[in-house]
């Protein structure tokens, strides 16, 4: 079944009726409330027009009305699957505006939390990708493991999904005594399930046939569309903000940047984007192991939290960090009061989704769903 090449469309010779299909906003596999206007010829997609904004929750307007700490709950709700990673660039941006130095222990806890959340996010991404392909069981195995990670986060922050844990200058709560051991147990479980899913789903022949050689995204197109994260790395571009524009304490850890290699198909296909996520989970496990070993036991996580938050007037900063989905940036403009003048979130999924019409043309309708799944979007971040 390796003959599934991109089907060449020659409409000059083959005139046939095209059907306009409306996929979404309520559709089981648009990952939320995305609407795709699809033009299909038989089963072949000839045009895709994404219509977004069905979850436009006025994030940027809310930011103007809130004080700096009050924005954090709203930042959580952007990419609600990886809320810790969302909070981080925002908190870093404000810390840079205020020129706050964060204590050592806080940095380590932040790294551990962000990487745990990265694992949780990739678990959902791979799980829903498998679900799009019709495999339901790996989905539940991943969600079972994700639960163990969420328990750790809940014990630290008090919430299961939207944590409000990273505060400007510190953390909302210190970690609990058995934290390190539980984190190590959780990543042990993650590795076990990953090995299982590799056999059950990723290297399954049907799955390979479904996902290899479709949705090919060349590296230059990816950069021109400003794709980032696994979407870009799946195309073979070795670029990770944690290494290439390093922030926090990531330069202390030893980890690789997995890139797509075109192992079973062409470089930059859906399978490559997916396998990058699987390998990244392993890299995150490595980072966590190192961070747990190096983390200082003592220290106050709240000591650097400022009492008054008034960044200098006119100061502005664009801070980006490696979200599980790619580059998440916050452009923060201060007007000298305790409320920001403007916060713009550069949503990773928003940018990554814009490449969908380009890479899904000429494939079959069933492939469109998989290509969408392989980009791993979250509508909260697309629409903001």
């Amino acid at each position: 079944m390796n003959e599934t090449k991109k089907i060449q469309l020659e409409y000059s010779q083959m005139e046939s009726d095209r059907m306009r299909l409306n996929v979404g906003p309520q559709h089981p596999s648009t990952h939320g409330v995305l609407r795709l206007e699809v033009e299909i010829d038989g089963e072949i997609v000839t045009e895709v027009i994404p219509h977004i904004g069905y979850l436009h929750r006025c994030f940027e307007k809310h930011c103007e009305k809130m004080t700096y700490p009050q924005v954090i709950p709203y930042v959580d709700r952007l990419d609600y699957i990886s809320a810790m990673n969302n909070e981080w660039p925002y908190v870093m941006a404000v810390e840079k505006l205020l020129e706050i130095k964060v204590p050592e222990k806080v940095e380590y806890i932040r790294v551990i939390m962000a990487e745990l959340n990265r694992i949780a996010n990739h678990q959902i991404a791979v799980a829903t990708f498998g679900l799009d392909a019709g495999a339901f069981t790996p989905f539940l195995y991943f969600f079972r493991d994700r639960e163990y990670i969420l328990w750790i986060m809940e014990k630290c922050s008090g919430a299961r999904l939207l944590f409000n844990y990273f505060w400007i200058g510190g953390l909302a709560h210190d970690v609990y005594p058995s934290f390190k051991q539980e984190v190590l147990d959780a990543i042990k479980q993650v590795r076990k399930t990953n090995a299982e899913v590799m056999n059950l789903l990723i290297y399954n022949k049907i799955f390979i046939d479904r996902t290899a050689n479709i949705g090919i995204l060349p590296a230059d197109v990816a950069i021109n569309y400003a794709c980032s994260g696994p979407t870009l790395r799946g195309s073979g571009v070795k670029w990770d903000l944690r290494k290439d524009d390093t922030y926090s304490i990531y330069n202390r850890f030893d980890f690789n940047i997995p890139v797509g290699k075109g192992e079973v198909g062409q470089l930059g296909d859906c399978w490559d984007r997916n396998i990058v996520r699987m390998y990244e989970m392993e890299e995150s496990c490595k980072i966590i192991e190192q961070a747990v070993a190096q983390m200082p036991d003592t220290g106050d996580v709240k000591e650097a939290i400022p009492a008054k938050l008034r960044p200098p007037k006119g100061a502005e900063i664009y801070q980006r960090a490696e979200n599980p989905k790619g580059e998440l940036g916050f452009y923060v403009v201060s007007n000298g009061t305790e409320k920001p003048d403007r916060i713009k979130a550069r949503g990773t999924s928003f940018v990554n989704l814009s490449v969908l019409p380009v890479i899904s043309k000429g494939y079959m309708f069933a492939d469109l769903i998989l290509i969408l799944g392989s980009i791993d979007i979250v509508l909260g971040e697309v629409d903001r």
Binding site: H56, L97, E99, I223, N224, Y225, A226, D245, G329
Partner: protein, 158 residues
């Protein structure tokens, strides 16, 4: 390459088109430019071999009171340097050239800026609303925006 060197290069090429260069901690250094020249400047930024800004990180709209601002955050994969380009347009005639054909990612960013702030990007292929419904009125991120009372028979305020 440092920001002031980039400024020198641009200043040499565009002269009056470049208005200001500002670099003070904690803010990012930025170059503010003439809005009508933005396409040419961005073209140089993208294609000249020593700059090579191939990655548009972010394009944001701003409400500055009397005028609207547009901010471009650029990054270069090759040289790993970044720069911020700023420009302002008056609120009454918020027109400036589109950079969509330089960086395709600007397509949706510009549509979003049009949607929320009402800037007109001339040269954009498909400048329609993106986040809000197509029949929405007004530009909600402007500071003088008032919430509508009703939309399609549904009450909007709480």
């Amino acid at each position: 390459m440092l920001a002031n060197e980039i400024y020198e290069i641009l200043k040499k090429e565009f002269g009056d088109g470049i208005l200001e260069f500002k670099e003070e901690a904690p803010s990012d250094p930025y170059i503010s430019v003439e809005p009508s020249k933005i396409f040419d400047i961005c073209h140089t930024l993208r294609d000249s071999s020593e700059l090579m800004f191939d990655y548009l990180m972010c394009l944001s709209g701003l409400d500055l009171g009397e005028s609207l601002g547009i901010v471009y955050h650029l990054y270069s994969f090759k040289h790993t340097h970044k720069i911020v380009i700023k420009t302002t347009v008056p609120k009454e005639t918020p027109t400036l050239p589109s950079v969509m054909h330089l960086w395709r990612t600007a397509d949706w960013h510009e549509r979003e800026a049009f949607d929320l702030y009402g800037m007109i990007f001339s040269g954009h292929d498909n400048l329609i609303r993106i986040l809000l419904p197509y029949d929405w009125e007004g530009y909600p991120m402007r500071k003088d925006y008032n919430e509508p009372e009703e939309y399609h028979g549904m009450r909007v305020p709480y």
